[in-house]
């Protein structure tokens, strides 16, 4: 009999992919036992009833699940817990991306790999969002990681768009030119600077009215400031909107108003915005590295490099060729069905139910 199945994650924030995934799992785990979420700190960003890890009191037959995306002190609580241990690996950005931008973050990321490896001998079950992530787990000593895709709330994109933002974006579109969109934290590994350079090239030689919307949390201010300096140097600062974090209704409006989703990200453990774009009917152009190819399947136009010429040419191909665009959109709509809640729940059931049932009987 299990006394609890409790998850530990660095934070639990509305709109965050790992947080959403953890809340879905919580609902699943609650079929077996008391299921709670614990985070590093108690502050008002916490959602889903999560509590600070300091309040965790181990039960005699608990299962503890640690979500890993950066070095965390929660690993100590996890390691000290007496029961079965599950790790859910969401990957972490290689430190080299931050070395020039945020040394402390780079330091934390450097320590993440060590922490992950140290946990391997005490973990009973390892989960990973993607095959790419599972391979990384194997490389540091995890014997049999299972792939369970991240659980998303794509249906929520059917909901209300922020009317005010939608109207503003419609007015913006009336100025003419294509609208490129990228959604993701503004930070070095997401490669927004490659998009700025590509847009500059595209405006000079293809479409002078083209604009780029960069939507996402300002995570690395030194990088964001440099991004603005780069846009000024390329004379495209008036053609680029760096919105910062936006409410969900506004995010939907951006997806609905854009012409193409372009990603130059250099490291993704999964890539939820790629699926969000597909769900919203946007054709996707993406740098095909790390977990990106397995997330998008054959439903995106993948490029081999972040060269601005190649990115601009790829975006141009999609915008110019209606048949190509329509096929990408149609395949995108089919691709997201692979990650529909019901489908992923089947994977969760097939992966976790036998294990949890066995542990409950032990």
């Amino acid at each position: 009999m299990l006394t609890g199945i409790h998850q530990f994650l660095t934070r639990c924030v509305a709109g965050d992919a790992v947080s959403t995934h953890a809340m879905h799992l919580q609902a699943w785990f609650s079929k077996f036992a008391d299921a709670r979420l614990y985070v590093e700190h108690d502050h008002d960003l916490v959602t889903g009833g999560a509590r600070p890890a300091s309040e965790y009191r181990p039960g005699p037959a608990d299962v503890v699940v640690l979500h890993v995306s950066i070095h965390t002190p929660l690993a100590e609580v996890f390691a000290a817990a007496p029961g079965r241990k599950v790790i859910d690996f969401h990957n972490f950005t290689p430190a080299r991306f931050y070395a020039e931008w945020d040394r402390p973050v780079a330091g934390l990321l450097e320590r993440t790999a060590d922490q992950l490896a140290q946990l391997a001998p005490i973990v009973d079950l390892a989960l990973a969002d993607s095959t790419f992530n599972a391979d990384e787990l194997r490389a540091v000593g995890y014997l049999d990681p299972r792939v369970v895709p991240i659980m998303t709330d794509l249906d929520a994109f059917d909901g209300a768009t922020d009317a005010e933002v939608a109207a503003a974006l419609t007015a913006d579109r009336e100025r003419g030119g294509a609208r490129w969109l990228f959604v993701g934290r503004v930070c070095p590994n997401k490669g927004q600077h490659h998009l700025v350079r590509a847009l500059a090239l595209y405006r000079r030689h293809v479409d002078p009215g083209a604009r780029l919307w960069l939507v996402g949390t300002d995570f690395t201010p030194t990088y964001t400031e440099a991004l603005r300096r780069l846009a000024r140097a390329l004379d495209v600062d008036d053609a680029i909107d760096i919105t910062g974090s936006v409410p969900f209704g506004a995010l939907v409006a951006y997806y609905r108003a854009a012409d193409v989703f372009v990603s130059a990200s250099e490291h993704e453990g999964f890539g939820v915005p790629l699926l969000e774009a597909m769900y919203c009917g946007l054709p996707v152009v993406a740098h095909g590295v790390t977990a990106v190819p397995e997330t998008v399947g054959d439903a995106a136009l993948l490029v081999d490099s972040v060269d601005p010429g190649e990115l601009a040419a790829a975006a141009g191909a999609v915008l110019r060729d209606g048949a190509l665009r329509d096929e990408l959109v149609a395949r995108g709509a089919r691709r997201v069905e692979h990650f529909a809640p019901g489908v992923v729940e089947d994977v969760v059931r097939d992966t976790l139910d036998p294990v949890l049932t066995r542990w409950a009987a032990a």
């Binding site: 931008w101 040394r103 201010p221 030194t222 300096r229 140097a233 136009l301 601005p308």
Partner: protein
């Protein structure tokens, strides 16, 4: 479109992209500028060095007390006339809001290290200022004697 035709179509599109991309690059007379970090040493500008110890403490507290590090950096920057890079230097001990809140031994070590590096930079600048002042005094002295 069936999968085989689609794979063939994509392969053709990607070939054209490679050619078009090369053409776009070739159309530029000069290489495009690229992003440039402004590192810690460059961030140690006079603005930062002009802060009193009390102000340094206040600026760091503004960030540490903030729920969002990026927002905190901007608040501190605006309040004390710093760039975000300078503001980031002040809180280099904390990698994330979580790390800042936690105030672990690691963070304390990093605070100490950052402050020590800052002190080294300040000392270096003071030596340079002293040398410049000395040179200026000598120049003035020579000018007077001439």
């Amino acid at each position: 479109m069936d999968d085989a035709s689609w794979a063939s179509t994509l392969a053709g599109v990607r070939r054209r992209i490679a050619e078009d991309g090369a053409r776009l690059r070739a159309a530029e007379p000069d290489p495009l500028p690229d992003i440039e970090p402004r590192g810690v040493s460059a961030a140690l500008a006079p603005n930062l060095l002009a802060l009193t110890e009390h102000e340094v403490g206040q600026a760091r507290a503004a960030v540490i007390g903030s729920k969002r590090r990026a927002a905190g950096l901007r608040v501190a920057a605006a309040a004390f006339g710093l760039s975000v890079e300078e503001s980031a230097v002040l809180v280099s001990a904390g990698a994330t809001v979580q790390a800042l809140h936690r105030a672990t031994d690691t963070a304390i070590t990093e605070i100490t290290g950052a402050l020590e590096r800052l002190e080294v930079q300040v000392a270096r600048l003071e030596r340079r200022i002293g040398a410049l002042e000395e040179a200026e005094r000598e120049r003035a002295s020579r000018a007077r004697s001439e």
